[in-house]
Amino acid sequence: MRPRNTLKLAGLVASVIAFAVVATIALSDRPNVELSQQRNLSIPEFTATSLLSGNDVTQQVFKKEQYKLLNVWASWCGICKREHEELLQLAELGVVIIGLNYRDNDQAAREYLSSKRNPYTEVISDPNGRLAVELGVIGTPETYLIDQNGKVLIKYRGELTSDKWNDIFSGYLNVSI
């Protein structure tokens, strides 16, 4: 009787361990981060208006530096306000951040930037969410890492905290906050 019970216990322990391992592997996939290695996504050709200067902005704005961030934000978005401090910090450390102003009122967006300081080198105005559909934006805020060829390397959805930055992005830009 005894060895049989031991065997049963061993079976239970083994199945619990197996389940834990599978669950850990599956969850370590980090659902709010997407690496587009198998899903190749590039910045499409577009012409939009700059929120800051009023001039035209095209996909060329993404082709200057090696790595840059695209931050999707709006003045009506509460979580964007929470990550604003991190964005300012990054901008001060020399990270190029391009803003995509998603479904916003231009005037409200400009007031937001002048009262909270502007971390963006350029802000693309997207009042109808047209470019956002091309990029697969689900909601604000989202932060993408984009390389020199306009390829999206990382898609991060949600608030950008310093922990998340150091964990996900800092390796590419050698900047940690």
């Binding site: 996939d29 899903r39 190749n40 479904r103 969410g129 689900i138």
Partner: protein, 136 residues
Amino acid sequence: MFRFNYLFLMLVTFALFSSSLKSEEIVQNVDLFEFHSIELQQRATRLAKTLRCPQCQNQNLVESNAQAAKDLRLKVYTMVNEGHSDQEVKDYLVTRYGNIVLYKPPFNYSTAMLWILPALFLIFFVLYSIRMIRRD
């Protein structure tokens, strides 16, 4: 003379106003989308019903009135109307939004648990029941 000037001024104002209206970007209402044919419309609606709105809690692109769902519905309708196949539309959305937009995700490494686990549970319970019945 005064009357003529007044009329002229009104015409000029109207002309200016209407041109400024024209220069405003026309936002297309997805619910008024016009297809080339009724077949295309049926195909597009059927396709949109099999796609999940990524912003919503389990609603498809036709059911949901969230802005993101409307944007995507318009994109699906436009692509179908331009002659793209269902698979091309799906690929377009999966590239941008991920497998979350598909109600029936493909079988691969990251979705293996989702597909295999129910089958494993079924096998386990069948075996377990057989054993219990035999014991009695």
